[in-house]
């Protein structure tokens, strides 16, 4: 579709919305994508912290095989809240709502997203959803894990009603954000920015938006059926009335497998931005990276049943799912190899952001490899629902998503705040995170393979030593995050001014001042090439072709 349809919206005298004057319009009910992005960042960041606290509670309980720190009931609530908060209230809003909102419109040279008011509305579905979920703690919390498989989830009290309502509400916001982003990427790109000239983070955001649009509504129907089962006793999942419990798993995983890619694809985009900036050279195989993102997204809709290999689908159903799941390793591998190859012949600046991305390459590779192991049905039979699975998902979501996100935080912080962070503190943060992350989750592979199931409050005393080691590492890993807060605090108070382009990057958001002005671009730039041509003149029209790309940090 042609991008020229919004020519008038780009004219200098036609801002997409006027600059707000009152405090409320400026900071609370703001329609500016940058403010909405920061709002998302703050709320989802708090949710990740809260979720981390639940994780630490789990680890305290598991320091001993029959610890009494938590009752089994509390333990079940803890891992349910940990998973729920992390997936729907932490990571997804962070990578789409926060990073997508702040960075994507800037990178395509737009003044805002296509529907600014809708964007504000999307955000404001989020805090009420948080309140609904947390209030369930007072009324009998949900306690069947973030997957909430019936019938066990239906045995619980009213908590499941709060849970479905909360996730449904946050899902409305996610769907509307996806709709908004997709329209924005299709219609609002700067003139000359063809699809194959888009920055890779924009590719990632667009593909993620497609995933959210298709999958989140499917989740809504799964949640709806659970809600109806509990409230109106509808027999979807009651085998005594002809229902079937496996149906929920189909409906849930048809969303939640793509959701894993909703979590990781934006991070692929973040990594693809950070690596060329600090390697000071073009990204290796731009098109292959972009197209592999698309193929991952397509494949992700055809592999949901690999979460259900033990659910009794039979060999003829599981086999195609198994082979398609394995094939996802191919585009993922292409990305890892391309990023590694980008480092070849580079002029590498080992900033904190870059270190996190290198850490991401290392840990995400492990997560990918264990993913292939879990994709093979016979091996999955041994590994499924054990700590091996827990280790795998954390290598993907912590070692992958969160490492990349931390890199992204260090990378875009100067753009958002106008101030630099301390590199020294940042490097300490990286090394402690990297070491204790691996110390926490690597041993989980072994306890899992040796026979420790997940979601247990009590375990075989044979695993005591390893679990104690994991728990201590987990506490230290949490401690490492204090350095991030200290760094952020220091930066906001005393950090040196960043200037428009401290890293010497070439994507459009670095062509304007930090923090960006309300209207982003006084004049919408024209784009002539991909942004990654280090060593060549900037591919933008005046005055944006004059920005310095010499790192100044």
């Amino acid at each position: 579709m042609s991008t020229d349809t919004i020519e008038i919206l780009r004219r200098a005298d036609k801002p997409i919305h006027p600059a707000p004057e009152s405090f409320i319009k400026k900071y609370i009910f703001s329609v500016d994508h940058k403010v909405v992005g920061i709002q998302y960042f703050i709320v989802s960041g708090l949710m990740i912290l809260l979720s981390g606290l639940f994780a630490e509670a789990i680890r305290v309980q598991l320091t001993g095989p029959h610890n009494t720190f938590l009752t089994p009931q509390q333990f079940d609530e803890a891992f349910t809240f940990h998973g729920t908060l992390m997936v729907w209230f932490g990571a997804i809003p962070l990578v789409t709502g926060a990073f997508g909102n702040f960075v994507m419109p800037l990178q395509i040279g737009a003044r805002d997203v296509a529907f600014p008011w809708l964007n504000m509305f999307s955000f404001w579905t989020f805090p009420p959803a948080v309140l609904i979920l947390l209030s369930s703690l007072a009324f009998g919390a949900p306690n069947a894990g973030w997957t909430e498989y019936p019938p066990v989830s239906l045995q619980a009290g009213v908590g499941i009603v709060f849970w479905t309502t909360a996730v449904f509400t946050v899902g409305i916001g996610a769907t509307l954000t996806a709709l908004n982003f997709l329209t924005t990427v299709i219609k609002m790109r700067a003139p000359g920015m063809t699809f194959t000239r888009m920055p890779l983070f924009v590719w990632a955001s667009a593909v993620t938006a497609v995933l959210s649009l298709v999958a989140t509504t499917a989740l809504a129907s799964a949640l709806g059926s659970l809600f109806l089962s509990h409230v109106f006793n509808v027999p979807f999942y009651d085998p005594t009335r002809g229902g079937t419990v496996v149906l929920f798993q189909h409906m849930f995983w048809f969303y939640s497998h793509p959701a894993v890619y909703i979590l990781i694809i934006p991070v692929f985009g973040i990594v693809s931005e950070i690596i060329p900036t600090f390697a000071r050279k073009p990204i290796f195989g731009y098109k292959l990276i972009a197209y592999s993102t698309v193929s991952i997204a397509l494949l992700s809709f055809m592999v949901w049943a690999h979460h259900m290999f033990t659910s009794g689908l039979g060999p003829w159903v599981t086999m195609p799912f198994m082979i398609l799941s394995m094939l996802i390793a191919v585009p993922t591998g292409i990305k890892i190899f391309s990023w590694t190859a980008t480092l070849f012949g580079s002029n590498l600046r080992l900033t904190t952001a870059m270190l996190f991305v290198l850490g991401f390459l290392s840990t995400f590779t492990i997560g990918g490899i264990t993913g292939v192991m879990l994709a093979s049905v016979p091996v999955d039979w041994h590994e499924h629902a054990t700590y091996f699975l827990v280790a795998h998902i954390h290598y993907v979501l912590f070692g992958g998503t969160l490492m990349g996100v931390l890199g992204g935080i260090y990378y875009w912080w100067p753009k958002v705040t106008g101030r630099l962070m301390s590199e020294k503190l940042g490097k300490w943060h990286f090394w402690l995170t990297f070491i204790f992350f691996n110390a926490t989750f690597l041993p989980m592979h072994f306890v899992g393979l040796l026979g420790m199931p997940r979601r247990v409050a009590y375990y075989d005393p044979a695993f005591h030593g390893l679990n104690l080691f994991i728990s201590i590492s987990a506490f230290l890993l949490a401690g490492a995050f204090l350095l991030l807060f200290a760094n952020a605090f220091w930066s906001l108070k005393k950090g040196p001014a960043a200037g428009p382009n401290p890293w010497g990057a070439r994507t459009l958001e670095w062509m304007i001042s930090s923090p960006p002005p309300h209207y982003n671009f006084k004049e919408i730039p024209e784009v002539y090439a991909t942004p990654y041509g280090y060593g060549e003149p900037l591919p933008y029209s005046a005055p944006y072709d004059q920005v310095s790309t010499t790192p100044t940090y």
Partner: protein, 362 residues
């Protein structure tokens, strides 16, 4: 401004240093692969059933493939990070080589993984189908998950029992697993088999225990607050020990049944039956006309309703056939009714219930 891809000579970076690092990484990979090859998985986690050999070989094959990928990605990342690090004597705006891609290389690292995945997929599929193949002369054992215990049923034992159970060594076993309430899972790590116990559905697990010993049977699917403690022990024993255990259990079960009282339909007490009905049956059945369904049909006049002379299983309604359904349960078009075992009904409960139903039939 169009970019020319591959317009620079990147080969000058493929120098001695690069190739020696590559060689080192290759050597490390080979060493690790050899170590994996000679690593006895048996020593780490005992192997105690036949179904595992394919699985362990598959697992090792994955490690063979994964190890070089892991070593090379990490090795190159560390090597590049050290070799190409920006030095302070370089100008601040120094850039790397303008390399946009190397098409043959990109084709290779697409094609080789596809090939590996296809090999892995075919191998996995073959192993997968072998797991579903029943063995001739297999011992059929039923395992039923409850919150939070495993119920076992053996052919020849009139009644089931909970807890530890025994399997004869070197005899094929078919486990028929299901659940009475929520989803549980049947996992014996040393057998390398795991399937979910899904309510309303029976799955089969085929394996042959090969090593004498005691192994844990663990529930791995979250099933409520007792999940962490839901485990028992499976003892793989010699044929002789198995026969001894079996006859001992048979006696114990018989004694327990005798203690519970045999079924004597004439001795039923309608009042006691009503209490049992309200406690156990009224969830699904009302004491009203047949058509008035809750989950199952209404049970009033069940023994004398001319409109429904037959029961759901096709038999004529007599006290004996009603007792039969209560004892054995029913599964068919109009739903599933658990048996007396699952409902926790003793023989005297059954006869009391029949008496109560009789009293409610005109």
């Amino acid at each position: 401004m169009a970019h020319q891809v591959n317009n620079i000579d990147f080969r000058r970076h493929l120098d001695r240093s690069f190739w020696s690092v590559t060689l080192v990484l290759a050597v490390i990979s080979v060493i690790l692969v050899v170590l994996i090859a000679i690593w006895p998985i048996n020593g780490t986690l005992a192997v105690a059933a036949t179904s595992d050999y394919g699985i362990d070989a598959l697992f090792k094959f994955m490690l063979f493939v994964a190890t070089p990928i892991f070593v090379f990605v990490n090795g190159y990342v560390v090597y590049f990070a050290r070799r190409y690090k920006h030095r302070s004597d370089e100008p601040a705006d120094a850039v790397g080589i303008p390399l946009y891609g190397v098409v043959p290389l990109e084709i290779w690292w697409t094609v080789i993984p596809v090939f590996l995945m296809v090999v892995l997929g075919v191998w996995s599929a073959v192993t997968l189908f072998s797991l579903y193949k029943p063995q001739a002369g297999a011992l059929n054992v039923e395992a039923i998950g409850h919150q939070w215990k495993f119920e076992l049923r053996y052919p020849g034992l009139k009644s089931s029992f909970y807890g530890d159970f025994y399997l004869p060594v070197n005899r094929p076993v078919t486990m028929n697993i299901t659940s009475a309430d929520v989803i549980h899972s049947f996992w014996v790590p040393q057998f390398r088999v795991k399937l979910d116990m899904v309510p309303g559905m029976v799955q089969q697990l085929h394996f042959t225990p090969t090593e004498v010993g005691s192994y844990p049977l663990i529930c791995t699917e979250f099933c409520g607050i007792g999940h962490g403690d839901m485990r028992t022990t499976v003892h793989v024993v010699s044929q002789a020990d198995y026969a001894k255990w079996f006859s001992g259990t048979q006696q114990k079960v018989a004694q327990a049944a005798a203690a519970a009282g045999s079924l004597n339909l004439t001795a039923g007490d309608a009042a006691k039956g009503q209490a049992v009905f309200e406690q156990k049956c009224s969830v699904c059945h009302s004491m009203a006309a047949f058509a008035q369904k809750k989950v199952g049909p209404g049970l009033q006049n069940i023994l004398s309703d001319p409109a429904h002379p037959k029961l759901v299983d096709g038999s004529a309604a007599t006290p004996e056939s009603v007792a039969h359904i209560i004892q054995n349960g029913y599964s068919g078009d109009i739903g599933v009714m658990p048996n007396a075992q699952a409902n926790g009904l003793s023989s005297s409960d059954v006869s009391n219930l029949v008496a109560y139903l009789k009293s409610q039939s005109k």
